[in-house]
Symmetry: C2
């Protein structure tokens, strides 16, 4: 078998999610995920540290958001800059809405996965805060803006998952950001 | 040994923290914590589910905050009501600042404890959001306000721990809340 596998990451993600839905997360092994994807366990571990990690691209998303923040003009207020960076992920998620719904159902049913999700989001907030400090924000302004940005993402993502009219994620991010501004100014 | 132990919860908390600092969290057993506190393991498990839980009163704090929110007049804006409820915990923490610093050092050094802390804070946000919906907030306004409130608590708590002038926690909560309003209005 060739060491190079086309879209091995995506195949492993889809195989894992199928098995988690069919048998349950606890009952699924890495060997079974690799087999379902037609790949080896070694290939699995080249892409993911464990069977929790296969559902998360949180680090990838956080790194991309930080990179995007560097390109937002300094004149844009920090929270709006975070909003712009978050919105840039809309297309990625809009293209995988059914996968995302199934993925969230599996996470919501498994405390171990909920923990991992919270850690990913907290790590994302820490990375965004560091990027905002690089843009000149004070330590606490950066921390509060980053936490607020992640709160916007959480609320927007849930509304996007539940949205019967299938509006794109960017619309929900803008709405949640506007609502956060409203509740903090009330 | 009597089944009733004066301040068993506090003795177990202090004994656990001492051992975590002396030997490390991973190297400490529940049996050792109970022994150090002069209590039985059975007493430990009447107060805490496991050796992670002994460092957290998160559920107790969340329940108290929800109860306080019910007493804040409806005319107070939701985020300010959360601020008032959070401030009411200042005295509890101000009375145990050295304990809190040691506790945070242990948590920061142990991923398993960081996970538990994130879960406690997320659970607190969920409970605060439910209380805000009872006050009439919409689902997303309640979620965003609750997440923002918990972000204020996180930032304020860290600043309180690091504060060389030992100002009370309430001062840091008010400052973080004002700063959150500033960054969302910029």
């Amino acid at each position: 078998m060739s060491r190079w596998e086309p879209d091995a990451q995506g195949r492993l993600e889809r195989a894992a999610l199928e098995l988690y839905l069919e048998r349950g997360y606890d009952q699924t092994t890495v060997a079974e995920i690799a087999q379902r994807a037609g790949l080896t366990e070694r290939t699995f571990f080249r892409h993911f540290a464990d069977k929790r990690e296969v559902l998360f691209r949180g680090d990838e998303m956080a790194r991309a958001i930080v990179a995007l923040l560097e390109d937002v003009p300094p004149s844009v207020a920090p929270l709006d800059a975070v909003g712009v960076a978050l919105e840039s992920w809309s297309e990625f998620f809009d293209d995988r809405r059914p996968y995302s719904k199934n993925r969230q159902a599996v996470i919501d049913a498994n405390p171990a996965l909920q923990e991992r999700e919270l850690i990913k989001l907290d790590s994302m907030a820490t990375m965004i805060a560091a990027a905002l400090r690089d843009r000149g924000a004070t330590e606490s302004a950066a921390a509060l803006t980053a936490q607020a940005g992640v709160a916007v993402l959480k609320v927007a993502f849930q509304r996007w998952l539940d949205d019967p009219s299938n509006q794109v994620l960017a619309v929900h991010i803008r709405a949640a950001l506007a609502e956060l501004k409203a509740v903090t100014q009330a």
